[in-house]
Symmetry: C2
Amino acid sequence: MIIAIVNQKGGCGKTTTAVNLSACLAERGRRTLLIDLDPQSNATLGLGIKVDADKSIHRVLVDDGFTAAEAVLPTGVYNLDIIPATIMLSGADLDLANVMGRESILKNKIASISDNYNYILIDCAPSLSLLSINALSASDEVLIPIQSHYYALEGLKLLFQTVNIVKSKLNYNLAIMGILPTFYDGRTTISRDVLSGLRDYFGSRILNTVIRVNSKLAEAPSANEPIHIYAPGSRGAKDYGNLADEILEKGQIL
Amino acid sequence: MIIAIVNQKGGCGKTTTAVNLSACLAERGRRTLLIDLDPQSNATLGLGIKVDADKSIHRVLVDDGFTAAEAVLPTGVYNLDIIPATIMLSGADLDLANVMGRESILKNKIASISDNYNYILIDCAPSLSLLSINALSASDEVLIPIQSHYYALEGLKLLFQTVNIVKSKLNYNLAIMGILPTFYDGRTTISRDVLSGLRDYFGSRILNTVIRVNSKLAEAPSANEPIHIYAPGSRGAKDYGNLADEILEKGQIL
Ligand SMILES: Nc1ncnc2c1ncn2[C@@H]1O[C@H](COP(=O)(O)OP(=O)(O)OP(=O)(O)O)[C@@H](O)[C@H]1O
Ligand SMILES: Nc1ncnc2c1ncn2[C@@H]1O[C@H](COP(=O)(O)OP(=O)(O)OP(=O)(O)O)[C@@H](O)[C@H]1O
Ligand SMILES: [Mg+2]
Ligand SMILES: [Mg+2]
């Protein structure tokens, strides 16, 4: 299963979800690949991956002769591999602008390795540009992290419109896995109000798991470790463990 | 003085700073204009501005015959005007891609109204695309909000490189006003570590004011009010008031 982690709102926990959910799926014995599709390369940084400038996702996208398999690196976490990003990726929109079938390059390139993994997760930049469209057209499901804040609600309309366009024009398989509330702080009215608003409006599309605010999640990247290794007893480790279990259960139902 | 609020890292407090700093400058008697240059239009939303789809910053940029003055709207806060954004702005990179002098369109368009204001603040999207370059080339100073987190540090190198390129090729006036630590929570080691790391590395380029975590700042946009009106006694109101005072003092020195 290929999961795109998308939301054009900045700072809503996309990378933190990509890194920690993929690590928790790997810990539960699933072969997992994390693809960093954000020029900021935060997922690559957060796992402490040293990247050969010439062997990143950027080259996979722009160089027909370079396969996805050649860019795969181990992460040090058992069962978890990564295709890293570098800043070169910020040129992708221009590099790919005139390429035939530019929206489906990632889909075609990862087809050759997708059988090697149970789960592939794609971390996206805070935008709905060509890179994020590539992620949506390559994926089976979309996971949408959303902060329990007011500004976060506004962008959802556009995000759903974009998903529907990709679904109708590029990838009719694409389904919404769910909306993941992040940065939840039960002590504040804004968190409680936004969460109950989300549940009223989106019903079962809101995942059961809620990611609570937890400073250990902000610390773990500086130790280059996913949360279940950096702070196994923390709220962050419990919440991302619950998320992995919820996603594995959803997968069962099919 | 024209100030661009820029950082390609998502969710670091750009919009919260743009809205609340401009409101605090207005409260201190300065004629202030806020320009929303982010297609997410969070600054427009956060002040509850109703926008005529055809009279936003997008039209100012793409329509030679439409002046900046025609797009200016009152905000309901005394001394504070806004040029709002709509989602149309997400097409700007493509709309302007082949226009002569595309990096300096904003600079030329706001020249005709800049004498009407003491301060003009520009809220940017979480990217270093053509819109943010337009903001940098139109500005006198750059204000860089940065979360007290690990991922936030990584993008600074690229941001400084971009500022230097704009300074050498488009706007030799451009100076760095300072780095503004946001989401500071003195109870967590990550906040304390990152802040002391920032002060060691950047010295006096780090502003004295630190914006502390405060849920009132996340609540205020849902009431369409800046923080000094929504919660005048809150930490957020104090911190953004201090920031306005620090910037006014810096202006004095010149
Ligand atoms: N639940 C949480 N509790 C506390 N801190 C968190 C939590 N989730 C993420 N963070 C921290 O908040 C910051 C923003 O999260 P993150 O970088 O994952 O968001 P993002 O959506 O990937 O951002 P961008 O839009 O820039 O890609 C990071 O510094 C991260 O460490
Ligand atoms: N000091 C603070 N304390 C608590 N919440 C805050 C603070 N500053 C901002 N917020 C909230 O955090 C979220 C992110 O802030 P904001 O939207 O201003 O960041 P941004 O950099 O403009 O994001 P983007 O990259 O999407 O433009 C918002 O929901 C905002 O209300
Ligand atoms: Mg990210
Ligand atoms: Mg913003």
